[in-house]
């Protein structure tokens, strides 16, 4: 079944077209990675997929229903979005932040219901931040904060989770923790789509990749099919070497430092 589908969508910032006629399907329960060079339109695509932005033409369908006909609240009950970085203007505690994930289910003036508290507790457990729950969010490291935001998205109990570069700025341990967490959630039936800059992490965790280039889908397939010297050279304009990961039979990408055209000129 198709969870989320974009049909011939276009989007421009001012006069610059950043998403150009993109048709893409995210299958239910898959772990999809969206890769591509800076400015390829990955982040914009993600925002169009969850309704933060509206396409100029074409439409986005969520389980077969067009986003345009649904309230933001209804969409938020099905799709959660984790931005690359969150600035916390007010210093809420971790559990306050996670509880905000329940917003799409709450009524104005209503109190926090038992199921809201329960979902919050579960999300805090799942994200492994139990010991942080009473801490003010601005006292946390960026890796911890990213897990708090992820917990908030989990508390939203979505069917689809969209993430924009969730591991950028994080150290190895935190990268690992986040990706393992996503992997677990995916194994339990959550559809995950991640925009990634880190090709090797994408290769390790995503079962399918989409390569974006100049606002279009350049190609899609398994990491094994896509992470080739030819495709990466076309898209990134730089020469790379591919080897196999020692533990898992997936490609890993390294820069080719000898014979780079640009460096020699």
């Amino acid at each position: 079944m198709t969870a989320l589908e974009t049909k011939e969508i276009c989007f421009s910032y001012d006069a610059r077209r950043v998403i150009d006629n993109v048709s893409l399907a995210v299958e239910s329960k898959e772990f999809l990675g969206i890769i591509g060079p800076n400015g390829a339109g990955k982040s914009t695509l993600l925002r169009l997929m969850c309704g933060i932005l509206e396409p100029e033409s074409g439409h986005v369908a969520l389980f077969g229903q067009s986003l345009a006909g649904q309230t933001p609240r209804l969409i938020a009950q099905q799709v959660a979005f984790v931005p690359q970085e969150t600035h916390f203007a007010l210093n809420f505690t971790v559990e306050d932040i996670v509880l905000m994930g329940r917003y799409p289910y709450q009524r104005p003036f209503g109190r926090d219901k038992a199921e809201d508290i329960e979902a919050t507790d579960q999300a805090i457990n799942a994200a492994g931040i139990v010991d942080l729950r009473k801490r003010p969010v601005n006292s946390l490291s960026s890796g911890e904060r990213q897990r708090v935001v992820l917990a908030r998205a989990i508390a939203q109990t979505p069917r689809i989770l969209l993430l924009d570069e969730p591991t950028s700025h994080l150290d190895l341990l935190h990268q690992y923790r986040i990706m393992e967490l996503l992997s677990n959630l995916n194994a339990r039936g959550l559809t995950v789509a991640v925009v990634h800059h880190d090709l090797n992490l994408a290769s390790l965790y995503c079962r399918r990749l989409v390569v974006m280039h100049h606002g279009k889908v350049h190609c899609q397939g398994t990491p094994g099919q896509l992470l080739t010297e030819k495709i990466l050279n076309e898209v990134y304009g730089t020469e790379v070497r591919i080897i196999r990961h020692p533990d898992k039979d997936v490609p890993q990408v390294f820069l080719h430092t000898e014979g780079q055209h640009e460096d020699r000129q």
């Binding site: 933060i52 938020a76 007010l90 306050d96 799409p104």
Partner: protein
């Protein structure tokens, strides 16, 4: 809990002080006046601080208040025009000023597909200056109305209540309190919006609609307040900060606490304004006179 009890006790003390302390000995006529003053103080202080809290939350900016967004100055301009034309404050003109400036600020900040929130604040500040200049022109042209415009600009709770304005003031107070109570429902949205508009949108908040509702509702509230007691500054700016220091960031507490603390602050300020000199000072003079050192103390602590 104890903090809640404490601010309620201080609030009640402020009401008691508002009724008991004054230049004249307490008897039935004076009591009537003091009760009105307390009612106006609770209403104006509460509503201004509430709006300040609302707007600071909406814009994620601690320097925003009804003044920075131009609505207070717009209302003052409208009211001054009323003084010049009709010889008295006309609430309709005050709303018109407040909403008119609000609308203008909105148009300036509008871009295709939404509003730029930073530009909204900038436009508001610029419009405040424009309104102040226009009020200045009215003051120069007016002559005899000068005092009235001056007290309107600084705010004054000792205004005369008679048959011509009693019903209107009661109606405005009731409408404002109902509107404030309705806006209180947005406390969750304000919590969420502090994490950025994208996060808020992804959690199901219609940011454009939400911002518009809050922006124009608070412009309306400020317009109503200014038309009764004038443009009292500083309450909307500092009270929400005090409230956050006491109760943390949650708007469920802050909106309510700002109302109570704003009312308390204005009651004490008014008590001073009518007792420290033989003359009646505009209460805005006292709010800034007392507010500034208190604010500095609070932040150096």
């Amino acid at each position: 809990m104890t903090k809640t009890a404490l601010i309620i006790i201080i609030f009640l003390a402020a009401i008691a002080a508002g009724i008991l302390v004054g230049p004249a000995p307490l008897e039935s006529q004076i009591l009537q006046l003091r009760i009105w003053r307390v009612v106006l103080g609770v209403f104006a202080g509460g509503v201004l601080a509430f709006c300040g809290c609302l707007l600071q939350g909406l814009f994620g900016n601690p320097l925003v208040e009804p003044y920075t967004l131009g609505s207070a100055s717009g209302a003052a301009l409208g009211a001054s025009v009323g003084i010049l034309i009709f010889g008295a404050i006309n609430p309709a003109l005050a709303f018109l000023g407040s909403l008119g400036v609000g609308f203008f600020v909105y148009v300036v900040a509008r871009i295709e597909g939404g509003i730029l929130r930073d530009r909204l604040i900038l436009a508001g500040v610029v419009m405040s200056f424009l309104c102040s200049s226009l009020v200045m022109i009215i003051m120069v042209m007016g002559g005899r109305e000068l005092y009235e415009v001056l007290y309107l600009l600084m705010g004054y709770l000792g205004t005369i209540i008679d048959a011509t304005n009693r019903t209107m003031i009661i109606a405005l107070i009731v409408v404002s309190l109902v509107l404030a109570a309705l806006l209180y429902r947005f406390h969750r949205e304000l919590d969420i919006i502090s994490q950025g508009t994208e996060t808020a949108a992804s959690l199901g908040i219609n940011i454009q609609r939400f911002s518009l509702i809050l922006f124009f509702s608070s412009a309306l509230l400020v317009g109503m307040t200014v038309s009764i007691v004038g443009a009292i500054g500083f309450v909307g700016l500092i009270v929400p900060h005090v409230s956050r220091l006491l109760f943390g960031p949650k708007h469920r507490f802050n909106l309510a606490a700002s109302f109570i603390l704003g009312a308390t602050f204005l009651l004490f300020a008014d008590m001073l304004s009518r007792t420290i000199t033989v003359y009646e000072l505009p209460v805005g003079v006292v709010t800034s006179l007392v507010g500034v050192p208190f604010f500095i103390y609070l932040y150096r602590k």
